[in-house]
């Protein structure tokens, strides 16, 4: 289809416009009919950690469906040799895997985890909110703005197409000059800023807002993993920001850093990129630790070594980045160094796996949906872990590198680890978010279909890779002998797709049919189960005093209430404000100004953003709080 200004529009983009328009209208009518505007406004102006966490998760689910659709398109195109599915060949295919990968990592997995942190961490440590509620709202809206910028590209028929790694020089203007990869840069920059702010928020919250008596050595493992993850974010993300910043200069202002030295870009990208995969997995580890201990009715086995293991993994995570670059000719010395550091990571990871297993041993295990996901995780993730060790063998990696073997490996860790962890966490903390308990039966359907579909999809890909199938290819021939693996893989992907429908059905059914549950539906162990479901604002008033690990559990066991702490520290200040969403909107406009090189728009939006900072400076919620204190 030809349109003025935009040119030739492919049919998938038209389909997306039509679909979105229809869904938009349906949604609008629904909101009008049910009179949900006040509720929406409430969420748009909130700074409450639970509500913000819930929004993170809601948006991530939507993005998950979008990126999942991409995956299904990929799998359709690869189902049979020499295929011509719809439009997904050549550049279109490249766009679809780029958006799939980038969305999954930055706009699905990360925000899912950050959402769960928002909901659970303050409740686990007895904090009445995150340390900086206003900043938290800013973080969320920046994430959403980044996600919208990134998603917009597809609707403008300009989706990024240089892979989620955006290797140079392919991603510089000499080779991909359109707006496509500008969207990538600015989508990531804006959401990355939000991520950095969240990390700061989490660290300060955990360091300073724990309930009296909740020493670091009594902290639930999810909070621990959040703390270490946040530290990783603080070091890793600025490197990405800088790399993209330099890339921006290459694309916009005539420098040629990464054209002249592509390997330097790869270094910077992976100095960020490898810690990033630990940023994705460590919080999931935390979730599994808490869930497994909860449903085995035992405290976690080897708590200290669990914490040390997380810390070591985080530390080693910064010393392995070049295992993504074994084939760029760094030399035998560098390759063996990075091979060995990579193998070393397997040790603390192994410790964690055995500790989980031994938490189950001699327990009385109740297999609820969150537990089921945790149980599914253990063998699945271990399979991803062992292929990780295989990949660390530098000389052998010359064969695996950039083949489907790698695709299989990282899906085993990211889907088998992170996504299963996210599902476990959502089922587990759903009462804290909404007050309701998701349906167990549908949850189990979801689990089984998802896990079976998962293995069907990704196990065969190992063999496709070993048979010489490179990743990021839109087609293969009959002689390649990978048809069998691919067709199974495609079938599995659809099974996973179907399993996700059960999630929607489950949410619908739960909200239609069931009433709110009490504070403690899972017979929990940690502080979050002492507060009402859904978690109210300022739930810890009065503030409990903690005297052991898993304080709630041991309290229940001895039939005593938690002691009340005298004179707890003052809580963070909640506000109702539309500033964060407006600020994020302004930055979105700014980014679009950059994407299309509209300088007037850059200037206006840039000035607008500064005005917001000034506005914020003069409307600080502390003004009132401190004044009250002064008057007293």
């Amino acid at each position: 289809m030809q349109l003025p200004l935009v040119g030739d529009i492919p049919s998938d983009v038209i389909a997306a416009w039509v679909l979105s328009a229809v869904m938009g209208v349906v949604l609008f009518i629904f909101v009008m009919k049910k009179r949900k505007w006040p509720l929406i406004w409430e969420y748009m102006t909130t700074t409450h950690h639970r509500k913000i966490g819930t929004m993170y998760i809601l948006v991530s689910i939507i993005f998950f469906f979008r990126a999942g659709m991409d995956a299904l398109f990929i799998r359709m195109q690869l189902a049979v040799p020499n295929n011509d599915f719809w439009v997904f060949q050549g550049d279109k295919y490249n766009e679809v895997f780029t958006t799939h990968g980038t969305m999954m990592i930055f706009f699905v997995a990360m925000p899912f985890l950050i959402g769960l942190m928002n909901v659970a961490v303050p409740l686990q440590i007895g904090a009445n909110d995150l340390a900086f509620p206003y900043l938290n709202a800013v973080s969320f809206w920046l994430f959403l703005a980044g996600g919208l910028i990134f998603n917009m590209s597809f609707f403008m028929n300009a989706a990024p197409n240089a892979g989620w790694t955006a290797y140079t020089p392919l991603s510089t203007d000499g080779f991909t000059s359109g707006p496509n990869n500008n969207y990538y840069i600015f989508g990531l920059q804006v959401s990355g800023l939000g991520t950095i702010m969240t990390a700061i928020n989490m660290i300060v919250t955990i360091m300073r807002l724990r309930a009296p008596g909740l020493k670091m050595t009594r902290m639930p493992l999810f909070s621990w993993s959040t703390l270490i993850t946040s530290l990783l974010i603080l070091v890793a993300f600025p490197v990405l920001t800088t790399a993209l910043f330099l890339l921006t200069f290459d694309r916009y202002y005539g420098t040629s850093f990464f054209v002249d030295d592509p390997v330097y870009y790869q270094h910077l990208f992976w100095i960020f990129g490898h810690p990033e995969v630990y940023i994705l997995i460590l919080p999931a580890f935390g979730i599994f630790s808490d869930v497994i201990s909860n449903f085995a009715k035992k405290r976690v086995f080897g708590y200290t070594s669990m914490v040390i293991a997380i810390a070591i993994i985080g530390l080693l995570g910064f010393m392995v980045w070049a295992h993504h670059m074994f084939t760029v000719g760094l030399g035998a010395m560098a390759n063996t160094f990075f091979a060995i550091t990579t193998m070393m990571i397997a040790v603390p990871t192994g410790i964690k796996v055995f500790n989980w297993l031994f938490t189950i041993r001699r327990g009385v295990m109740r297999v609820t949906t969150p537990m089921l996901f945790s149980l599914g995780f253990i063998p699945t993730f271990v399979m991803g872990g062992v292929t990780g060790v295989m990949l660390a063998v530098a000389a052998a990696d010359y064969q695996y590198h950039d083949s489907y073997f790698v695709v299989a490996h990282f899906h085993y860790t990211m889907v088998g680890g992170t996504i299963l962890g996210v599902f476990a966490g959502i089922y587990y903390w759903y009462p804290k978010m909404t007050g309701k308990l998701l349906d167990e039966k549908l949850g189990k359907w979801h689990f089984w279909l998802f896990v079976i579909g998962f293995h069907l999809t990704f196990l065969p890909q190992h063999f496709a890779g070993l048979n010489g199938m490179p990743r990021r290819v839109f087609t293969y021939t009959t002689e390649d002998n990978v048809f069998g693996f691919n067709v199974i893989s495609t079938a599995g992907a659809f099974l996973m797709g179907i399993s996700m429908l059960f999630v929607i059905w489950n949410i619908y059914k739960t909200h239609k049919k069931t009433d709110n549950v009490g504070p403690d539906p899972w017979k929990g162990r940690t502080l979050e189960w002492t507060v009402a479901s859904p978690a109210p604002e300022h739930p810890f008033e009065p503030m409990p005093k903690v005297t052991s690990i898993d304080p709630y559990w041991y309290g229940k066991k001895d039939n005593r209430e938690l002691e009340v702490a005298e004179s707890p520290r003052p809580s963070p200040i909640a506000v109702k404000t539309a500033q964060p969403i407006l600020l994020a909107g302004t930055l979105m406009v700014l980014s679009i100004g950059f994407v299309y090189h509209w300088i007037w728009m850059q200037v206006m939006a840039g000035a607008g953003a500064l005005l917001f900072l000034i506005w914020r400076f003069f409307t600080d919620e502390r003004i009132e709080a401190y004044r009250k204190e002064e008057e007293r």
Binding site: P262, S305, V386, A396
Partner: protein, 226 residues
């Protein structure tokens, strides 16, 4: 579990015909051996975890009778924890030694003889150009002699590519402004697929070439004639 067996069966059936595991050079053989070794060691780990997992998951379930039992806590067990720290370290050491060895071996280009065939490879979106020492040039097809060391000098005319002939050797990236080399000695005649293994743009998927390994005299003939 069942699906696992089915898949494993599939591997056994097709295992030896997987290109990477059916190499025709000693380089490829070294790499395949490493793959087998690491796979073997990792299978040990996998089996241990799977067995423990199956055991614990079947045994420690909540039932009608133990519903109200509160299991005894255990904060940890020093000996056990040391065990599963030390054993992996040992296994990984076993793996690390040949890794280091072979990685160094493959990096040192052999003492080259007069006979060594040098081929300049220029990768460009989306073609492979091969230039022989005597000025002969081919496109998307390279002919090399059996039993003779071949050294490919890899250059890129535009973006990063990667040079990969799965049955002959692992990948070497082709980076603009930098020359990397790959060398091996083919041991069997035949035609092998060559591929670009680093994403390089629209038609990356079809940026392929054919590698024909022929007898030495046939190679000389071909090089001098046509």
């Amino acid at each position: 579990m069942k699906r696992l067996f089915i898949m494993l069966g599939l591997v056994l059936l097709s295992g030896c015909s997987l290109r990477v595991l059916d190499p025709k050079t000693s380089t490829g053989q070294d790499q395949a051996n490493l793959i087998y070794l690491s796979f073997g060691i990792m299978m040990v780990v996998l089996v241990v975890v799977f067995v423990l997992f199956a055991l614990f998951v079947t045994k420690y379930r909540e039932t009608e009778s133990n519903q109200n039992v509160i299991p005894e806590d255990s904060a940890g067990d020093r000996r056990l924890e040391i065990t599963w720290t030390v054993i992996p370290v040992i296994l990984l050491t076993i793996l690390a030694i040949p890794t280091v060895q072979i990685t160094y071996d493959l990096a040192s280009t052999d003492a080259e003889s007069e006979e060594t065939v040098h081929i300049d490879v220029v990768a460009e979106q989306f073609n492979w150009n091969f230039n022989y020492e005597n000025g002969k040039a081919t496109e998307n097809e390279v002919i090399i002699p059996k039993g003779q060391e071949v050294v490919f000098h890899l250059e890129s005319a535009d973006v990063v590519h990667s040079f990969w002939i799965p049955q002959l050797s692992g990948k070497t990236d082709v980076i603009p402004g930098e020359e990397l080399v790959q060398s091996f000695t083919p041991q069997e005649t035949g035609t092998y697929q060559g591929k670009c293994a680093e994403f390089c743009g629209s038609l990356h998927a079809v940026m392929r070439f054919e590698t024909k390994v022929v007898e030495q005299d046939e190679f000389e003939d071909w090089l001098d004639n046509e």
